[in-house]
Symmetry: C2
Subunit: 201 residues, 2 copies
């Protein structure tokens, strides 16, 4: 059976991958992220690569066929990059900016496959448009008081209470949660890999 | 505290409403559905109304401010209405039709509010476009063998393993799962009702 490693501590990524029937280990990357790129699509690809590479290094001589999945998600609005908020005040100011508007969520994925004793790298990103309903400060403050925004890029969780602010999306929903699983399956398939069954190369 | 009743046995609708922080009772409607309309938007509104009305009847003299929520979801593809599949064969033929294409998911919601001793009715529907990746019969058969499609309109669950077939959506995601909760909150607000807090009229 192929070994699959998710290089992320995100409970949301874990849940998405489990729901899709994938058996995997979790091995969170922990190094400081270093951003050298400018555009959101490039940044998430770069950061996903750093996470996957850290785990590959830690694995040493991995078994043939092993797959490592690194992922990074950011929110972008009118050229601004929104990561996780530092505190409630920042969460409120992010949310104020996003209410009533459309922003973009980018997830970058790096996919390392062990073949012939070395790592093959495959990188992609997905972008989804998310449109929020207009919202009053009192509603935003209520939401922020739940604590949900604090560990999330852009200060909201679409799959939680944050969902009530979302008028609609255009693109992949799971990408907004943190991992575009359908796209991942299709990219893996191009490499002859099924993520949800026992197989060997 | 306002009494809110969900007139549906769907575990997915229950979960969506719970996630949004709503406290409610469940009282599933059970009567035979009678369709007199032609277009998907009209059909789901009609059926959601029948479910809500059945529960309202059962409630008798309900407390002032009580809210009953009825909902119905169907899938529509090129003028065809796709409900729940009767068996695996039908699930396969539905899925074959949808793969590689864009279809529509309609959810109709009827919202009854007890005011001045009678029921005020508010009805709306949401439509979301869903685009599937192309898929081979072998993949579809694997999916159908999981049993997931059998109780779902259109033979798939976007929030389960069915998600790996979805390339993207345009519109409200929760609407595809079975209840457009964000829209519901906004419609309720127009009537001066907050669904997620203690309040009285």
């Amino acid at each position: 059976m192929r070994k699959i490693i998710l290089a992320s501590a995100s409970p949301r990524r874990k849940e998405l991958l489990e729901n899709a029937g994938v058996c995997f280990d979790i091995c969170p990357a922990g190094r400081e992220e270093i951003i050298t790129r400018t555009y959101p699509a490039e940044i998430v690809e770069e950061l996903s690569g750093q996470k996957a590479a850290e785990i590959a290094e830690r694995c040493g001589q991995a078994e043939e066929g092993t797959v490592i999945i690194g992922a990074d998600t950011i929110v972008s609005y009118e050229g601004k990059i929104l990561g996780k908020p530092a505190d409630r005040e920042e969460a409120l100011s992010m949310f104020r900016m996003l209410q009533g508007k459309t922003h973009q969520v980018f997830t970058g994925v790096t996919f390392l496959v062990r073949r012939n004793g070395s790592w093959e790298e495959h990188v992609f990103h997905e972008c989804t448009d998310v449109t929020f309903y207009p919202a009053r400060d009192s509603e935003l403050e209520r939401y922020i008081a739940t604590g949900e925004p604090m560990d999330k890029a852009g200060s909201y969780g679409i799959q939680g209470k944050g969902g009530i602010f979302v008028r609609g999306i255009h693109g992949d929903y799971q990408n907004v949660v943190g991992l575009p699983v359908a796209r991942l399956f299709h990219e893996a398939e191009k490499l002859g890999i099924r993520l949800d069954e026992e197989d060997t190369e």
